[in-house]
Symmetry: C2
Subunit: 339 residues, 2 copies
DNA sequence: TTGTAAGCGTTATCAA
DNA sequence: TTGATAACGCTTACAA
């Protein structure tokens, strides 16, 4: 590793003082045109780049936002990130991303690192394992230390900070109502266990939609997937055992697994069973049949989250507002699977 | 933003010197058991966290690896990242990820930021727009400044650094030979324009496989997609106009679009047309029919890249080895689409 | 117009 | 056993 060019070296080389170099490079008029040109030329020639680390230390600001997400293979998170980056770049912030891989330990590690000076604040979706454990001390600690945090998607009620969430219940409700309108009467749901907050809310929306239409919830039609690795077979079994004319999957994985299983059973989608899915991927439009989905507007979510965070970062001390939770509305995209 | 707890404040609070605090917290035996306990208790109570920025400045090392990728919605990149993280964490490095969104400007910006002190080195897959422009000055500059870089996947020949690439040609060759073995004789390829290096190599592999079996390449059967937004219709048209019994898609997107189009035309896969795809996603196993793919071993790629980088980072100055290019081999995963 | 010095948070060296 | 000081690279008040 070659040592990098510093102001000091430039100063020594050109026989001026460090501060002269600093000022010249920042176009201060107090430095004579002459020296300024000389210094800038030299810096350009040797490709001087100011050391952000030193700047951060000096300013006690990094102008960097840290994003911490559970998984990276997620179209939904990708769109959220795009939204965050858009706002961040507009406001002169950089963005770095860390991935917890849904592991509690990774999450803690990454948060520690980011909190250790790399970023001014966080935008976080907590890991599944963290939600399962219910151990949020790392989040609270970091906030307590004065680093602003915005939780999104996989949020935690008991952590006090700004939050942005999808209106999961509303979305699920919309999905199920759509199936009802299409004439489905025995509608099943394939969802996650309840400690995953979004799964829980989507299940609630499912119940609400049915109840609002006077249809009692048949618990036999509620499948909660515990173990993702065994989801395929669980779903297949569920479909074999229960007779349904509509299925609501809380994510694309579950929904496509269901269609696959139905396909194997010789059951036609949408002719015999209609399917609506919550969408977190680009798979929906591509699948055969293409999936009717509840669309999550990830970019909007990212933009809101970034704005919330930047507002905190730039708020004058003392005039902080109370924490907000913003809802992002979903929308129904009709495709082949529910025709 | 609350100011964070520093050594200085602890020192003032406990009426000792900064250096005593520093030493106590790092368990130096020169500090008496007594003071040490006192200081550590205080630090723990108020949740002291050393400022990494200051440490980085002091050590001129961040122990952080920067990854710069074109897109984040990519299963393949996700697996590479996982591989990098594995090795990095084992060696005590952190990882931060930046996304160029395939934009040249984003790539330059992100690289500048990372080069500005946030990381010790890079692992980069260049943006499509960058490959198109052929402008690599930002990469060269950063390397010239002494920051080690490893290019992977979307590499650039003319940039001198370590590289890790998939053996795309071999993989493509394997795919086409598989189709030939299954009896296909009119095999089409759906690929990218040639400035995308992987597309080019895969096209070469396609030609090589055919030629090695004495089958002349029919240029009518080579579809180069220019504009991703119009890929669907281009592919549909291609399939309507050309008669084929085998199709090789250089990515899942192309392959699934093809199957979709065939499905609409009433052509059965694999009965009438067999399909093999290069795989960069989790879609393959899930699709109906599931896709026979050339698997890319992203994790292995990530591990190799991380090892190359860390070797550079920890090499004693003067004893640097010449730059290496490592090949990652692919493997064929047979599924329904080529049965 | 240029330079000196202090400070950001930390650690290493040396002195007390 | 503890503390003062310098240094990492940079900016900025202030002095020259």
């Amino acid at each position: 590793m070659k040592p990098k060019l510093t102001l000091k070296q430039i100063a020594r080389e050109l026989d001026v003082s460090v501060s002269t170099v600093s000022k010249a490079l920042r176009d201060k008029t107090e430095i004579s045109e002459d020296t300024r040109q000389k210094i800038k030329a030299f810096a350009k020639l040797y490709n001087y780049r100011p050391n952000n680390i030193a700047l951060s230390l000096k300013n006690r600001k990094t102008r960097t936002i840290g994003i911490l997400i559970p998984e990276i293979v997620h179209h939904f998170y990708a769109t959220v990130i795009a939204g965050i980056e858009k706002v961040a770049h507009e406001q002169g912030y950089n963005v770095i991303i860390c991935v917890s891989n849904n592991s509690f330990d990774h999450e803690v590690m990454n948060l520690e690192m980011l909190a250790g000076g790399s970023t001014d604040g966080f935008i976080v979706a907590v890991a599944k394992e963290t939600q399962q454990r219910g151990d949020y001390h790392h989040l609270k600690e970091v906030i307590h230390q004065g680093m602003p945090m915005v939780l999104f998607d996989r949020i935690v009620e008991e952590v006090e900070c700004d939050k942005v969430i999808i209106d999961d219940e509303e979305g699920a409700c919309m999905a199920v109502k759509h199936l009802l309108e299409r004439g489905c009467r025995r509608i099943g749901i394939i969802t996650t266990v309840d400690y995953v907050s979004v799964g829980k809310l989507r299940t609630q929306g499912y119940r609400k939609a049915l109840e609002s239409c006077g249809i009692p919830v048949d618990e036999q039609l509620v499948l909660k997937i515990e173990d993702m690795d065994r989801s395929e077979e669980q779903i297949a079994q569920f479909l074999r055992e229960q007779k349904m004319d509509g299925i609501f999957g809380v994510n694309e994985e579950f929904s496509t697994s269901a269609i696959r299983a139905l396909h194997k059973m010789g059951v036609k989608v949408p002719d015999q069973v209609r399917v609506v899915s919550f969408s977190d991927g680009s798979l929906s439009a591509r699948f055969i049949p293409s999936l009717t989905t509840i669309n999550q507007h990830g970019a909007e979510m990212g933009e809101k989250a970034a704005n919330l965070l930047i507002n905190r970062l730039e708020a004058d001390p003392g005039e902080e507002e109370p924490y907000k939770t913003q809802m992002i509305h979903t929308s129904l995209v009709e495709r082949e699977s529910s025709l």
